[in-house]
């Protein structure tokens, strides 16, 4: 099950904890991967760890030209993009009443607008191939909201609506578009929390613990597979039961 041999995948934000795990899961399932991110060194380290079917293409998702060049560079490296995982995202938290235009714009631009541009960039090839998988990494926060994250939550909820609309448009072409919405996942970001803060989070999660990047990657692997051909326009919530949506 879930054999991706011969498929080519582009993963953004691959230098992060979740993105790295997604890249590894797709690679281990047989896919060729392009690892994208802003920092070259961790991407190269990951590519070396994975093996010869892993390529590195850096990209600054806040720059339109850089974003538009990425799908083309990925096609040059791999021959096609059959699977696109929009995983990269940033936060610039602030109370709504204090949030600046810049904080709003930068988060929407990187999280939502770049996702739109990358989807557009890979669609032509997918339409011709009559096969494609787009997996957009949303967030529990997009569905539940979170104080201090009005911009981030808007971007993540925006991804869901965009994905559903696109899923409608391309469904007859063998292309599926889905979201995965992680809850609290143990990464470098959550390592910074104090034990007390972690404990407070864990009591809100029915499973009593944070998720692992591998548990998100497993959801992405499923949605990238041939087996998931009939699953489109959906959001798979992977949050330990924290929000049962």
């Amino acid at each position: 099950m879930f054999d991706l041999t011969g498929k080519n995948a582009l993963i953004t934000g691959a230098s992060g904890g979740i993105g790295g795990a997604i890249a590894k899961a797709l690679y281990d399932a047989g896919a060729t991967v392009v690892l994208s991110g802003t920092r070259e060194e961790p991407l190269k380290a990951l590519a070396a760890e994975l093996g010869e079917r892993a390529h590195v293409i850096t990209c600054n998702l806040s720059e339109k030209e850089s974003v538009e060049a990425l799908p083309k560079a990925a096609v040059e490296a791999m021959g096609s993009v059959d699977i696109l995982v929009n995983n990269a995202g940033i936060t610039r938290d602030n109370l709504f009443m204090r949030m600046s235009d810049d904080e709003w714009d930068s988060v929407l631009n990187v999280n939502l607008t770049s996702t739109m541009r990358l989807c557009k960039g890979v669609l032509r090839g997918m339409m011709k191939a009559r096969w494609g998988r787009i997996v957009n990494i949303s967030s529990i926060v997009g569905a539940t909201g979170n104080p201090g994250q009005g911009n981030y939550a808007a971007s993540k909820a925006g991804m869901v609506g965009m994905s559903k609309s696109l899923a409608y448009e391309v469904a007859t072409r063998g292309i599926t578009v889905n979201c995965v919405a992680p809850g609290f996942i143990a990464t470098a970001m959550t390592d910074k929390l104090t034990d007390d803060q972690k404990e407070k989070i864990n009591v809100q999660i029915p499973t009593g613990r944070m998720g692992t990047p591998e548990e998100i990657a497993a959801a992405v692997l499923y949605l990238s597979s041939q087996e998931a051909a009939y699953t489109t326009g959906t959001t798979l919530h992977v949050n330990g039961g924290m929000a049962m949506l």
Binding site: R124, M127, K128, E169, V170, T172, R173
Partner: protein, 77 residues
């Protein structure tokens, strides 16, 4: 019929799976040939590849019929 028209017709017939004699000068891709809006996008993509031209989005929107396509491509190539 010109070479361009023949090549355009071949693409339309293959892509929309219609009879060749239905692809007339004034045949509308959507109203007469059963295309949906995404089919028209794909047709434009196919024209671009066949003829090695770029068809910008605003121009693509004006290509509604077989005749429109042949005229645009003849002028562009």
């Amino acid at each position: 019929m010109s070479d361009i028209a023949d090549r355009v017709k071949k693409i339309v017939v293959e892509h929309l799976d219609v009879e060749e004699d239905k692809v007339t000068e004034t045949a509308s891709f959507i109203d007469d040939l059963g295309a949906d809006s995404l089919d028209t996008v794909e047709l434009v993509m196919a024209f671009e590849e066949e003829f090695g031209i770029e068809i910008p989005d605003d121009a693509a929107e004006t290509i509604q019929t077989f005749g429109d396509a042949v005229k645009f491509i003849t002028e562009a190539s």
